[in-house]
Amino acid sequence: MLAYLFKRLISALLVALTVSAITFSMTFLTGDPAITLGGETATQEDLATIREFYGYDKPIPVQFFNWLGNAVQGDLGHSHYLNQPVATEIFTRLPTTMTLGFCALLFALVLAIPLGVVAAIRPNSLLDRIALGVAVVGQAMPSFWFALTMMLWFSINWGILPVSGTDTWAHFVMPSIALGYYITPGVMRLTRAGMLEVLQSDYIRTARAKGVSRFSLLFKHALRNAIIPVVSLAAVQFGFMLGGSIVIETIFAINGLGFLAWESIQRADLPMMQAIVLILSLFYIMLTYFADAMNAWLDPRIRVA
């Protein structure tokens, strides 16, 4: 298993390197990054200063390695707009987005796993179709419409939830639902499929023959096995949600990484944009690696492969 993990680690590092190269190349999408940063009234003098400060006057490979070297040491660059180190801003906002992502994941799991179990107990029944329907319906609506509709009903019309901000835990309810709803179908289907498979296994038949209660059968025995792929999917989806939170954070005035990314894009704060894309990608890579490792540990078949 160590060999497998080591191979996967090398692979993960290579992916990380490639992602950073791609992210870095975003700098040159507009031609001259100094103009993008300097903007409006930048004189030639200003542009030269910018170029020197950010090192844009050096050859590209040198720039890349400098950037990478700095990033590894924790220096993600300097935000032109905020005139501060990028890392400070990002790590101030990261906990907020992580909290949001975590709550969203929790919501998704709490909704999807029971639905998946129920659907698996009676496959192809009306219940199964309804469960699938609930899952699919939410995915067909643009997320901002869904979020704003919730705001309309829960905050304006019924007044039971606050509109925006992050002051209390109640502030996280709607954003978590809006964000988490999108991964619900995937988790539900996986749970259902896993449960279906496990329920037909000998292991379960034996337990049933032994007279184990229905409830215990479902949750202590079957779900425990079926949940394995779900957990790794959840870990991966967490990373995906961190990146997809722009719209939700903007709508609910949540001051997280997604909103920072959006603002950086609007004010063409290149170093910040790049750093965020890089951080999120690295997070995702880390989570997938973690998911792989866990799968390997739990499922002996994979280790040997």
Partner: protein, 297 residues
């Protein structure tokens, strides 16, 4: 699970699938809706009562005809938007643009993803290693963010949006095609084609592709829905299709401002989009059920 009786009157696998398809309610419903919308899009100029681009500011924000309002009129069945443009006409023309975006992005990503996936599955070894690596890299990047960043730096237009989406959403094609090709790879007819000395491209196109085609179709429908939704998200943030072109995503984004007051402005294109996405998903799911049930879930 139906049994296949081994008699001489047995239907070919293809005919069996067709029969199954015709009985699959999800597939029929989804397919019907998609076809209807496509037809509406094609015949837009004949169906739209007005020119969807004509703006008359004095008649802006007329509610749909079923509203209890003095302004409502049968001349504008679905009302008008904030610039006085007929909503029904824009909805009909919008079908064209949304479908076109979905279709084009799907096509581009399909070509990229299928090529990569089939090559990875067929050649295996180092090729597979490199391509899997590419896939993982692509999966690691946050799609919406990258799309936004690129569009904001390069400038948004229909072409840019389609290209950006097409170049970002090929991953599922690649992954599914790869495993489908792997399964087909070791079958006898491939081996005999190779033994006969057929050239590799010939094998790929004549032997492999037709056998994985059903997977392609399934993924294609799902990615089309994905592209349309992504465009709506881009439009919400101001970086999607540009006015005055009426994509449904843009109509929804434009209507967002009055959502709390004139909910119909967002509900109409929103429902249309919702129906389209739902239908495409049902169609895709149905096709998967019928052609490759083992991939379900």
């Amino acid at each position: 699970m139906s049994e296949v009786t081994a008699t001489s009157t047995a239907l070919s696998p293809r005919r069996m699938m067709l029969k199954q398809a015709l009985r699959h309610r999800g597939l029929l419903f989804g397919g019907f809706i998609v076809v209807t919308i496509v037809l509406i899009a094609i015949f837009a100029p004949f169906l739209a009562p007005h020119d969807g681009y004509e703006q008359v500011l004095s008649r802006k924000l007329i509610p749909p005809v079923w509203f209890d309002s003095p302004k409502a009129t049968w001349d504008h069945i679905l009302g008008t938007d904030h610039l006085g443009r007929d909503y029904l006409s824009r909805l009909i023309y919008g079908a064209r643009i949304s479908l076109m975006i979905g279709f084009s992005a799907m096509l581009i990503s399909g070509v990229i993803g299928t090529t990569l996936g089939v090559c990875a599955g067929y050649f295996g070894g180092k090729v597979d290693l490199v391509i899997s690596f590419l896939i993982t890299t692509r999966l690691s990047m946050p799609v919406v963010l990258v799309a936004l960043a690129v569009v904001s730096l390069v400038g948004s237009s229909l072409t840019v949006v389609i290209l950006v989406l097409g170049f970002l959403i090929w991953d599922r094609f690649a992954v599914v095609m790869r495993s489908a090709t792997q399964q087909v790879r070791n079958l006898d007819f491939i081996a005999s084609a190779e033994a006969l000395g057929s050239s590799t491209p010939r094998i790929l196109f004549v032997e492999v592709l037709p056998n994985v085609a059903n997977h392609i179709i399934v993924i294609a429908t799902l990615e089309m829905a994905h592209a349309i939704l992504l465009e709506a998200a881009l439009s919400f943030l101001g970086l999607g299709v540009q006015p005055p072109d009426p994509s449904w995503g843009l109509m929804i984004a434009d209507a967002k401002g009055l959502m709390f007051f004139d909910g119909w402005l967002i509900a109409i294109p929103g429902t249309a989009l919702f129906l389209l996405i739902l239908a495409i998903n049902l169609l895709g799911d149905g096709l998967r059920d019928v052609t490759a049930p083992e991939n379900r879930g």
